[in-house]
C-alpha cells in the first residue's frame, strides 16, 4: 500500500480523493448499494416488521491502535452493538471519516482492513460514507463516526427502563479488558501486557439470546463508565434497586493485576465487546446456556439481581461481608500515586 501521507488534496473532491475512495473504500467496503456512489443509499429492508432502530456514535479513541483492536474495529462494533442492545438486527452502517493532514496512508489502510473484517464478522454493510481531511492540528490523527440502521427482531420492549424486580443480571464475559488495554498504550503510562481489548460485535450473541426475547427486559453494552455506569443508569431509568455480588464479578487475572497495580476499579473501565442483560429469573439458566455456546458469551455469568428497595441505587456486597454503594463514575479514573 501507499507509503505516503494524507494531504488536504485527499479530501478536496478532486482526482486524488477519487483515487483514494476507489482504491481504499470501494475495493474494501464495496457492495451494490455503496457502489452506486449516490448522495444517499436507497435501502430495501424487505421486512414485514416496520420498526427500525437508528443510532450514531463517534470514535476518537487514543491510541488508535491498541492490543485487540483499533479505532476502525471499534467504530463498527460500537454502532453494531448499540443496535443489537435494542433488540435489533443491524443491517447498514454509514461511515464518516475525518483525517488529520499528514496521517500515514498505510495506517489508514490498516484501519480500513480492520473495519472490513469486522463488517464481515458482524454481517453488516457500509452503504454510505464521507471523508474529510483537515489541517494538521485540527483533529487528532483520525476520527470516525458511524451511524447504523437495524430492524427490531422482537415485539418485546427491551429498554433501560424495563428492569423488573427479581430480574437476574447477566454479564456476557470478563470485564475491564478494553479499558486496561487502552491504558497500557497511553503515553506516559505504557506497560507490557498480553491483555487484549474485548472489542467485538455482539449482534450474533444477541440473536441467540432473543430466542427467549420475552424474558430479556434490558440489554446494555457497558462502554464508557463501565459496568458501574450502565447499572446506575438502568437503576435510575427503571426506578428500582440493583444488588451486585463482588464475588461473582468475572475479571481476568491479567486485568485484575493491572487494575491492582494502577489503582483502578474494573467496574468503571469500558468494555467494547460485553453486554449486560436483565432477564426473568425462570429463564436465566436457558439464556446463560445459549450464551455459553456463542464465542462472545463463553464466560457469561450472573452477577446480581434487581430489587424493589433502595430505588435508583446500586449496592455491591463486598468480599468482607459488608456492602457499599456502587456509585456513578464522576470522571475518568486516574492511576494512583502510591
Amino acid at each position: 500500500m501507499d507509503k505516503g501521507k494524507i494531504t488536504l488534496a485527499h479530501g478536496n473532491g478532486g482526482q486524488v480523493m477519487q483515487k483514494l475512495i476507489n482504491k481504499m473504500i470501494i475495493s474494501n467496503f464495496g457492495n451494490p448499494i455503496l457502489n452506486r456512489l449516490d448522495d444517499g443509499a436507497v435501502l430495501d429492508l424487505k421486512s414485514r416488521n416496520n420498526k427500525l432502530v437508528f443510532t450514531t456514535d463517534s470514535f476518537v479513541v487514543d491510541p488508535i491502535f491498541f492490543p485487540g483492536g483499533d479505532i476502525g474495529k471499534l467504530a463498527v462494533c460500537g454502532t453494531v452493538n448499540d443496535l443489537a442492545m435494542m433488540g435489533a438486527k443491524p443491517l447498514y452502517l454509514s461511515a464518516g471519516v475525518i483525517i488529520e493532514e499528514g496521517f500515514a496512508i498505510a495506517d489508514l489502510y490498516k484501519i480500513i482492513i480492520s473495519m472490513k473484517k469486522t463488517l464481515a464478522l458482524a454481517d453488516v454493510k457500509i452503504v454510505c460514507g464521507d471523508t474529510k481531511v483537515v489541517n494538521k492540528g485540527h483533529c487528532d490523527k483520525i476520527f470516525i463516526n458511524t451511524s447504523g440502521i437495524g430492524i427490531k427482531q422482537t415485539k418485546a420492549r427491551i429498554t433501560s427502563s424495563n428492569a423488573q424486580p427479581g430480574d437476574l443480571i447477566i454479564v456476557s464475559g470478563t470485564i475491564g479488558e478494553h479499558g486496561v488495554s487502552i491504558m497500557s498504550q497511553r503515553e506516559g503510562l505504557k506497560f507490557k501486557t498480553q491483555l487484549k481489548s474485548d472489542c467485538a460485535p455482539l449482534n450474533g450473541l444477541v440473536a441467540d439470546m432473543l430466542k427467549f426475547s420475552d424474558a430479556v427486559h434490558v440489554m446494555r453494552d457497558p462502554t464508557r463508565g463501565g459496568v458501574a455506569a450502565a447499572l446506575n443508569e438502568i437503576a435510575e431509568h427503571s426506578n428500582l434497586g440493583i444488588e451486585i455480588n463482588e464475588e461473582n464479578l468475572p475479571v481476568s487475572s491479567q486485568a485484575r493485576g493491572a487494575c491492582e497495580i494502577l489503582g483502578l476499579d474494573p467496574l468503571y473501565l469500558a468494555c467494547e465487546g460485553r453486554l449486560l442483560a436483565f432477564v426473568a429469573p425462570n429463564k436465566a439458566k436457558d439464556i446463560i446456556k445459549v450464551m455459553h455456546e456463542n464465542q462472545f458469551g463463553r464466560k457469561a455469568q450472573i452477577i446480581g439481581k434487581v430489587v424493589s428497595g433502595h430505588k435508583k441505587q446500586v449496592y455491591l456486597s463486598t468480599l468482607a461481608g459488608s456492602d457499599r454503594i456502587l456509585d456513578v463514575p464522576i470522571a475518568d479514573q486516574m492511576p494512583r500515586i502510591c
Partner: protein
Amino acid sequence: MKYVDEFRNPKLAKQLIKLIHKLATQLDKPISIMEVCGSHTVAMFRYGIRKILPDNIRVIAGPGCPVCVTSQEDIDRAIGICEYPDTIITTFGDMIKVPGTKTTLRQMQAHGRDIRVVYSTLNALDFARENKQKKVIHIAVGFETTIPTVAAAVQRAKQEKLKNFYVLSSHKIIPPALKVLVASPKSEISGFLLPGHVSTIIGAKPYEFLVKKHKIPCVIAGFEALDILQSIVMLLNQQISKQPKVEMQYARCVNTQGNLFAQKMIAQVFKVSDVQWRGLGVMKKSGLIFRPEYKAFDAMRHFPVKVLKVKKTACRCGDVLQGIINPPQCVLFKKICNPSMPIGPCMVSSEGACSAYYRYGGKRNG
C-alpha cells in the same frame, strides 16, 4: 490471584468481624482509630468495613493523601511553571485536577500548555530524552513511598547529563506530621493504622515515639480486607491489654529497618526541611528539598514563580486531614464541593477523605 485472593477471603473476614465485635465489648471507653494513609481510607469504604464496625470504634481519616496535603502555594507554583515557554509538565494522576488560587493544571492544559500525566517518574525522564529542545518539569508530590523513584530518576538524569529535566519537590514525610497531630490538644486519636507502603521504605522505628511518648497503640497495616480487619484486632488487643507497641501486620512487605537502599538514595538527593502542608501549616522537618549537589534539577530554583498569599475559605480540608472533623461536617460538603467541582483537595484526590465519603458514604434510598 496470588497474594490478593488470600487476603480477601470472605469466610475469614466474617470471623475477624466477629472477633472485633467481641473485643469491642471489653473496651472501657469508645476509641478513635486514625488510618493515616489515603489508600486505607478508600479500602475501608470499598470493603464496607466502616459500617460493620461496632459503635464504640470510630475511624478517622488522616493526612496520608499526597494530593490532599500539597499546599495551595505549591499548586500555584506548578501552574506558574507551566506558563514558562517550551516546557512539558509531567505529574501524577489527580494533581492536574487540584484547584490552585485561580485555575488548575487541567484548565491550563485546555489552554494549550503541555501537561502530561505519568505513572512513573521514569516516564518523565523519557520525555526529557525525547524532547531535548523542551524543558521537562516533573511536579513531584508524594510520601516516602514514591520519593525513592524520584530520587532514582534525578540520579539517572545526572548520570546521563540530561540538561532539560527538573523536579518541583513537594515531597512530604509522614512521621513529623504524626508528631504534630498527636501533640494537638484537639487530638482524639487512640490508635493508629500506620501506612503500609510508606513503612516498606522507612520501617517501624520512626513511629516508636508514638508508643514511648504518647502511649498510642500502632499497627503497620496492609491494604486488603483481611489486612485491615486483622490490624483492627491487633489494635484492640493492645488497647485492652494496655500495652501499646508498634506492631507489624503487613509483615509480607515491611521489615523493622525498612528499605535501606531506598533510604540512602533519598538522602543522597534530598534533605529534610520545614515545609507547608495544606491545612496543617508549616511543620518542622516534614518535607524534602534538593541537596546543593543536585540543585541543577531543582525546578524551584530555575523557574521562579510569584505565589499569592492564600485566602482563607470555608473549606475545612485542614480539619479533615487532622481528623478533627469528618467530611460531612464541612458546610461545603456535597452542597458546593463535589468531585466534579471540587473546592478542596480532599474532594479531588480519589484517595481523599471527602471524595471517599462522597462516593461511598451516601444513605440508602427507601
